[in-house]
């Protein structure tokens, strides 16, 4: 052996241990990885933005004393009965089937107590959810599982789902192990088989058809309900403009961090855009059409705190929506179940195989024994607390920026820590007046 120093082992930045592990897994199984949880790679996000608190040029409002309102109207364009929420943080659509009945009940309880709405999902409307949700948005999806005019009429709004952030352009599959008798009956399919959720609607294609579909839904519900159109963040300028053209009251825009839905890992990580890049384009489309604030914009995908809420609204959103964060508030991925996460080959805060129905927290499952672990009353209380905290946080920031309503936050209240985020969000790089891409940039 030579005494000369050896070159130390050096990992490739391209073929990392994680990449190599996936290659070995693919080689052993012959099938791609499917998971939930949204994109896990680092992306430009709200963390890359900072608020510029008031000082001499602007004056702040007094915390705990001067009012900072948080309410929001949704569906004011055409609906006879627009929705009025106390807070601009809504619960995103997640299906009964993917979630247990008690989990849907808890979402309804928490949202109602906090003064906001919850949303159905693929699989239809459950009594647990309708009964415990003061304001319930009913999703109109390509699969049309459980779709019927009675539920349309007892909904408070209708959300036509064209796409979602985890998989813009993709459908879904609920695996057979989650298809209980009740889920199978609601979807009109045999128990225990994998259930496809189509990627396209069966009876319309394109914006001209969508306009007629919206007309039909309005006629069936006597023009009472706000009609939302939900799209995955891919071409937000054009998708927003086309949704407005088709007659939407509300556009729901879901960035690639959105991710309770299970799909291929390669899809989650490589298709779509981060929500930060989507919001300014959607707002621009609304402004170009003279419809900003008249057609409301709800954004989602990686919203975690009141700071995220405030930043999304400063960029021009009217409200936000949460999915993953709501599940975590209910108790999903909690370290108290670590022993069981280990048995599933994962760990708390990294568990993302929600589609398999083995959730130790009893939330994303149809297993009756696992479901018993989840208390919907306690879960609802936890969700309410979390929503209240987010609202207080957003108000704290808004007051510091001198705003007496969250909707008065504006891009001028923001700066960016990175060039990438500055370009995407259309706000200046911190310490400069430079907005990359503006005034003839790239």
């Amino acid at each position: 052996m030579s005494d000369f120093p050896r070159t130390p082992p050096r990992y490739s930045a391209t073929f990392t241990p994680a990449v190599n592990a996936e290659i070995r897994r693919a080689a052993a199984t012959g099938i791609y990885d499917i998971r939930g949880g949204g994109t896990k790679r680092h992306l430009p996000h709200f963390d890359d933005l900072l608020f510029l608190g008031a000082s001499i040029s602007r004056y702040p409002l007094e915390g705990y004393r001067e009012k900072c309102a948080t309410d929001v109207w949704l569906g004011t364009r055409h609906a006879k009965n627009p929705i009025h929420l106390d807070i601009p943080i809504t619960i995103a659509g997640m299906s009964f089937g993917a979630l247990s009945g008690p989990a849907k009940e808890a979402l309804g309880r928490g949202a109602t107590a906090a003064g906001t709405s919850t949303t159905t999902g693929d699989g239809g409307m459950t009594e647990e959810e309708r009964g415990h949700s003061k304001t319930l948005v009913y999703q109109y999806l390509p699969s049309r599982y459980g779709m019927n005019p009675d539920d349309l009429r007892r909904a408070d709004a209708i959300e036509i789902v064209v796409g979602q952030g985890a998989k813009p352009g993709g459908g879904g599959m609920l695996l057979g192990q989650k298809i209980s008798d009740r889920v199978a009956n609601m979807r009109n399919l045999p128990k225990g088989i994998d259930q496809r959720s189509a990627c396209r609607h069966p009876d319309w294609t394109g914006p001209d058809d969508l306009e007629i579909k919206i007309l039909e839904l309005r006629e069936i519900t006597n023009w009472e309900k706000p009609i939302y159109v939900k799209v995955g963040g891919a071409r937000p300028y054009y998708d927003t403009a086309l949704a407005v053209k088709a007659g939407a009251d509300v556009v729901v825009l879901d960035g690639m961090q959105g991710g309770t839905a299970a799909t291929q890992d390669v899809f989650i990580e490589h298709v779509g855009m981060p929500i930060l890049a989507c919001i300014p384009q959607a707002v621009k489309a609304l402004q170009d059409l003279g419809m900003h604030r008249r057609v409301q914009l709800i954004v989602s995908g990686g919203i975690r705190s009141g700071a995220d809420v405030a930043k999304a609204m400063a960029l021009g959103a009217d409200a936000v929506s949460i999915g993953t964060a709501a599940l975590i508030a209910l108790g999903d991925n909690d370290p108290r179940w670590e022993e069981e996460y280990q048995k599933l080959g994962t760990t708390a805060d990294a568990y993302d195989d929600w589609h398999e129905g083995k959730d130790p927290a009893g939330i994303t499952t149809q297993d009756p024994e696992l479901s018993k672990r989840f208390d919907p009353v306690l879960g609802g209380r936890r969700l309410k607390n979390y929503l209240k905290v987010m609202t207080l946080e957003a108000q704290t920031i808004a007051r510091a920026c001198g705003k007496n309503h969250l909707h008065n936050l504006e891009p001028e209240d923001l700066c960016s820590l990175t060039i990438e985020a500055a370009a995407m969000a259309g706000v200046p790089l911190a310490g400069t007046n430079w907005i990359p891409g503006k005034n003839g940039g790239f």
Partner: protein, 229 residues
């Protein structure tokens, strides 16, 4: 009979009047004149009434119908009787794409031809087509029956679940996981019943039909079937 002139009054007024027919009513006979291809005519009706549309309709006529019998004395645009829950829709002419899409119950009768994707994603509806049906019909059809007195286009019953398809004429091609199956006694009875209810008695005999259904090989995802998707 109540006559509603869509040339003089609005679609909203028509559908409002029809939606108001809840429970018992003696206004059970309705006639709609001058439809001129309007969309969403008689969508969302929920009453045991008889509505005759004198002319051709646009998209989604009789959408989500419950209980009503709706007769179209012309042809129907895309998505006629989509997501129908119950009742009967009878079209004298042809039907465009997606006829009876996602329908959950009731009976749809098309006396002419049906275009592509007839019965797509159907969930319990019965559909009787006196003429031919277009390509990709019964795609992902979940349950219910489709009876075709004429021919079927390409990729019939692609990714079919538990719906039954009966075709009297030729089938250009079958879609993934759709196969021909034996006609057993209960199937002859189903066909006989559909011919009778579909106003096609005397036009064909049950023994002239062949049955198509799911091979059930794609019910659970299996990587060895990847080339079939």
């Amino acid at each position: 009979m109540q006559t509603f002139d869509l040339g003089a009054e609005s679609l909203r007024a028509l559908n409002s009047s029809l939606h108001a027919l809840k429970g018992q009513t003696n206004m059970t006979e309705w006639e709609v004149i001058n439809p001129k291809g309007a969309h969403a005519i008689a969508a969302g009706v929920d009453a045991p009434v008889d509505i005759t549309v004198r002319g051709s309709t646009g998209y989604y006529c009789a959408g989500m119908n419950k209980q009503a019998t709706i007769r179209i004395k012309g042809s129907a645009g895309p998505g006629v009787a989509e997501n129908m829950m119950s009742g009967t829709v009878i079209i004298d002419g042809d039907a465009s794409q997606y006829a009876g899409a996602t329908g959950r119950g009731g009976l749809l009768v098309i006396k002419g031809n049906a275009s592509s994707r007839c019965g797509i994603s159907m969930k319990g509806i019965d559909i009787v087509v006196h003429g031919n049906i277009g390509h990709m019909s019964c795609f992902m059809a979940q349950s219910g029956n489709v009876l075709v007195l004429g021919n079927a286009g390409e990729a019939l019953g692609d990714s079919l679940y538990e719906a039954r398809i009966f075709v009297r004429g030729s089938v250009k091609s079958l879609g993934a996981d759709c196969i021909e199956k034996e006609m057993r006694d209960e199937h002859f009875l189903i066909v006989e019943d559909l011919l009778r209810r579909g106003e096609a008695e005397g036009k064909a005999k049950p023994e002239e039909f062949r049955r198509y259904g799911s091979a059930r090989k794609l019910y659970t995802f299996n990587i060895d079937n990847a080339s079939s998707y």
